[in-house]
Symmetry: C2
């Protein structure tokens, strides 16, 4: 069957390779950037064609999004914000289940990354003044193209609109094959188009506003940041931050000092970020308010080895390299050790984080079969990144980017040095001290004092902080013209009669650290996790549930008295209290309804373990109860006082369910929801 | 000494009581509100006079804010945001220490409240559309008075400006006693003044802009919310939320359903909120971006008893009742049981939360001697609150409100019912079913169908959803005039020829729940905690540290090799790894410098336990190390492999330091920082 599938894919793979080779050739020949860009866009399109076919031919996993959405809304994992006021697109409120699941994912993230790797952590302001985001590039470049309905003012993202329009036109029976091909060609080029090219398309196809049929305005660049005015005067412009990373960069000097001036070190931040999407959609995947968890690992640009790389070198991962993408090859399973040593992944530190990301995602319940690391094609990469891999998860929306992992080189610190005038670097000891030529101004303090009076001190300080190059330049200028402008002060030869020249021994050099950045879109990981863990019970398709690992499950254990018989009450409440005492979130369900029906309710909210209090509990000593595991629905019978510690260990992953079944006798009872 | 102090306070207490009695009398006589308000303001002023004197006469605790601030900045607990870009007032970044401390405070908060009380939890949008905050009252009432410098546009909060101006004028030697008295009188009334009254003062005293001497504009009301435009069109107005509570209220129906329709239940939310302060000051106490942790406990308005009240009834707390404030009496220590049963605290649920707040604050390290619960004077209370108590902490800024605890009655749900048109209530079973008169329209479907065509269905539905009162009114109108307007449709007798009257048995009634709201200002609790735990070592005033309880301390344990001798290395790294394995945040300090100096560094960042690896560790078997406790600086000698579990238990509060010293031999060595 796989062979048959490969046969169908072969021509698509060949189409990719053909185009990949063309791109390679153009690059090798030094073709103009615009030509390369167009061909890369065509390459991406063929890749997508291939990928769509792979998904189409893969055995279906029967995932039913409508069923899952129903469960998510019904048990309030998350839902539209402000629904009683009509709701608002692109914003979601997390209910008790969603909120706890995210919190548990993040608690595990902190253990896995922050504590295990002894990272620093910060929590920085979300209201960000404009100069910071000017320096980072967001003010100028963080934009989409937008058009408006000239009458209603309704806004549309232009690329989405063109795509919709073309797809509709393509489906129209009156469209000739020739026209269809033209549409396809243009669709292929859409992602790389300039604003002018898109405007031309709007005119050429006489596109109108889709809801009203009104004319559309010309496109404008719409910056995705939310502008905000800080303070009452209106003069301090700022934005809600579009990512958490910048807060770490602007604190670099404090963090370096905290780390006693040494590299490498990493700093993490979890927090909200905001993007004013033109037309949010795809549920949690494109929203205006979201949580990020980012790490900035600062290291020596000339030494990106990692001391713990060997510990993770054997981790097997599915890697979808840039090369494979260009050749129409599938993603490949390999160890991260092979990938780094073979030069596929740029360096050990980047590889180390990729493996740790992989381990984390599996730990919280992402399916390893529906996860891959895709390397950015060189033109996709932000211009500063040396190498960049996205952890992608397969969902009913296709492969979605959940975690980015990039080597951003010295870009960000460099930008903030330029923007703020504050130097962001680290002193690196030289292997051997070197001699450097030093030129230092020797000022005539008396004259400077008389001439500049209260400014004299500032002038003296400016003279002493001159670099050797600047001092040399000044000496020359004073020789040539007798004058030199320094910070707005006019200096003459008389004020600086001489310059001292000597050789100085230097033991350190200033370097700008490189940054490796793992960046998690928490809402996207959360959503992928829900899809990957959504299950329907065999033989009963109404019984849906989430098979979340105990470590992230919102509630760890349920306590269900068999009926509302008064005799069960003391056992129920004592057990619930004992579980709570161990900080285990517990749910007591003493409502009427069969045990089976109540288990189905606890399954829906992913409670991994359930305890039933029955007549044997009351009548026998030692008092025993049944303990049930959600996924297998297996049950054991065990003494009630053993339950709390056992569940605590299960929830912490210290023991497995098989340890429980091998210790206590199995309990068999038919589970019915009738 | 205390008697002497009381003697000095007696006249001030009497002045309070005199004024308190006057206020009581005015209220009893039904005096006009404006008169009562003025006298209450005078009462508050006398209270402040008394309080200031109490603080002045109390034995000094030698707290040195400058010293603490130095430590906080030097070890990056928190600092001004965006300092490399010149910084920004009212915004702070939390560094590794502050960030972990806040996280640990919140983790403990979740255990103490959310898990122990089995609360629900939500995480709602911060971007909030205008109608939501219109309903809550924030759009109309959440404002301060502001004036501007007419030339520079610099903004000032007018009440602050008047206070400054009066204080300066009062200190002026040229001011006569008569003038001084007038100033005092006005200052007394300041807090209750209208905008017009304040404007009059600006004119009367010819007040100018304090920095430039320019004229000031007339005052305007400045809303403290940050306005924001959601989406690209600019037509969807919103704000950054000014508190987290509204997110819970708008989700009330979902939460009730999640709780299977039953009262009582509580829902918690932790998250950011924003206030665009006109002139932020006092460090973390008045900022523009802050974290809140709020709980909304929904309960039956006619039954505010609490099932666990007995468990906390004996908690002793310092209560500063409204009565005591009016009588010039000091705050009183009493049990919450006495307070509730004596009627001082309005009900058990409110009292239960006050006691739980008290326990929480003590658990994380707030000094019980510097904490009190102050009851709002009735006029201070928001008009919807039945009873409200603030947990206040004494700091170098005086008593500051850290946690509010209010019975808000049905106010918020009522407002959102009005604002959204969605009914927010709970069905309460009646003790006995009652008979109610029911009037139901009996429409003539044929005529309605012919008359209204496609609208016929809407008309039918409107008829069926009429309340009995409305139906009665309609029947009468049709009798009187033959016509009735219903949702814009004109109905005639022919369409509704008759109304069915019957008695119906009803088993439930709709009630709007009451809300009890504990609301934590996390940054304020954090700041008070730092002040309360700041210490200076006896005999060495340069050694400052924070005596934070292990449960909230950012790093739990340090590992210090005696020197950089290679032999220590394997022990250091193995121990550090074993501690990390138990999820204990650990700090290895293998820098040069004496052990004493390194301990001083770990004390500064509040690390409660420290391990030293020395030659006895290397040379003896079993390998032993010293374990040191921060506050007492006591040390014991113990086997290295016992350390991780021992520290884990200490950090979780499962054992005390005295358990450690009674188990292992004391180790004595002089601690020197030389």
């Amino acid at each position: 069957m796989e062979a048959e599938m490969e046969q169908q894919l072969a021509p698509l793979r060949a189409r990719c390779k053909e185009q990949g080779d063309l791109v390679r050739k153009l690059k090798a020949d030094g073709a103009p950037e615009i030509d390369v860009k167009k061909q890369v866009q065509e390459l991406k399109n063929r890749k997508k064609e291939l990928e769509d076919m792979v998904l189409k031919l893969s055995p279906p996993d029967n995932f039913d999004r409508a069923k899952m959405t129903d469960l998510i809304k019904r048990r309030f994992f998350y839902d539209n914000s402000f629904a009683i006021y009509g709701g608002i697109t692109g914003q979601y409120d997390y209910g008790p289940m969603g909120c706890d699941l995210v919190d548990n994912m993040l608690a595990e993230w902190q253990k896995h990354f922050v504590i295990q790797e002894r990272m620093l952590k910060v929590n920085c302001s979300i209201l960000t003044p404009e100069p910071v985001l000017k320096a980072s590039g967001h003010v100028d470049k963080f934009a989409d193209y937008m058009v408006k309905d000239v009458k209603t003012g309704e806004c549309y993202r232009l690329d989405h609109l063109i795509k919709q329009h073309f797809e509709k036109k393509r489906a129209d029976k009156k469209t000739t094959n020739e026209e269809k091909e033209a549409l396809d060609r243009k669709l292929t080029l859409l992602e790389g188009m300039t604003m002018e090219e898109m405007n031309k398309i709007v005119k050429e196809y006489a596109m109108k506003s889709p809801l009203t049929g009104n004319d559309l305005t010309d496109a404008v660049e719409f910056n995705l940041m939310f502008p905000i005015s800080i303070g009452p005067s209106g003069s301090l412009k700022g934005f809600l931050r579009p990512e958490t990373a910048q807060g770490i960069f602007v604190n670099f000097k404090r963090l370096l000092e905290y780390n006693q001036g040494k590299l490498p070190f990493a700093c993490a931040q979890i927090g909200n970020a905001y993007r004013n999407e033109i037309s949010p959609r795809s549920g949690l995947l494109r929203v205006r308010e979201f949580t990020m968890a980012e790490i900035e690992h600062f290291c020596d640009p000339d030494d990106k080895s990692h001391p713990k790389f060997n510990q993770i070198a054997d981790t097997e991962m599915i890697l979808y390299s840039g090369c494979a993408q260009m050749d129409g090859e599938p993603a490949k399973k390999m160890t991260i050790g092979e990938a780094v040593h073979g030069g596929l992944v740029a360096n050990e530190t980047l590889g180390y984080y990729m493996a740790r990301i992989h381990q984390y995602l599996i730990k919280i319940g992402i399916s390893p079969k529906k996860m891959r690391f895709r390397q950015h094609l060189s033109n996709e990469m932000a211009h500063y990144a040396c190498d960049c891999w996205d952890a992608e998860c397969l969902t009913s929306y296709g492969w979605i980017e959940c975690v980015g992992c990039a080597d951003r080189s010295a870009y960000d610190l460099g930008q903030h040095t330029k923007g703020s005038g504050v130097k962001m670097c680290v002193e690196r000891p030289l292997k051997e001290p070197i001699l450097v030529d030093s030129v230092v101004a020797v000022p005539e303090k008396g004259i400077i004092g008389k001439t500049f009076k209260k400014d004299a001190k500032a002038v003296q300080e400016a003279l002493l902080s001159l670099s050797s190059d600047e001092a040399e330049k000044m000496d020359k200028a004073l020789n040539d013209s007798g004058e030199y402008q320094l910070n707005g002060f006019k200096l003459t030869r008389g004020m600086v009669p001489s310059f001292k020249r000597e050789q100085k021994k230097v033991y350190v050099e200033d370097i700008v650290p490189s940054v490796i950045e793992p960046s998690f879109g928490v809402g996207r990981v959360f959503y992928a996790l829900l899809e990957h863990s959504f299950r329907v019970r065999e033989n009963d398709e109404k019984r849906t549930y989430f098979s979340l690992p105990a470590v992230v499950a919102p509630i760890k254990v349920s306590v269900l008295p068999l009926s509302n018989n008064q005799e069960f009450m003391p056992f129920t409440s004592q057990l619930a209290d004992a579980l709570t005492e161990l900080s285990l979130p517990v749910r007591v369900d003493d409502s009427t309804g069969s045990i089976g029906r109540r288990y189905a309710r606890t399954d829906e909210i992913a409670i991994p373990f359930g305890v039933t209090i029955d007549f044997d509990t009351v009548n026998n000593t030692p008092h025993t109860v049944t303990l049930r595991e959600r996924d297998s629905t297996e049950q054991v019978r065990m003494p009630i006082e053993e339950v709390p510690v056992t569940v605590r260990k299960l929830a912490d992953g210290k023991i497995k369910w098989s340890d429980v079944t091998s210790k206590w006798p199995k309990f068999t009872a038919q589970e019915t929801t009738k």
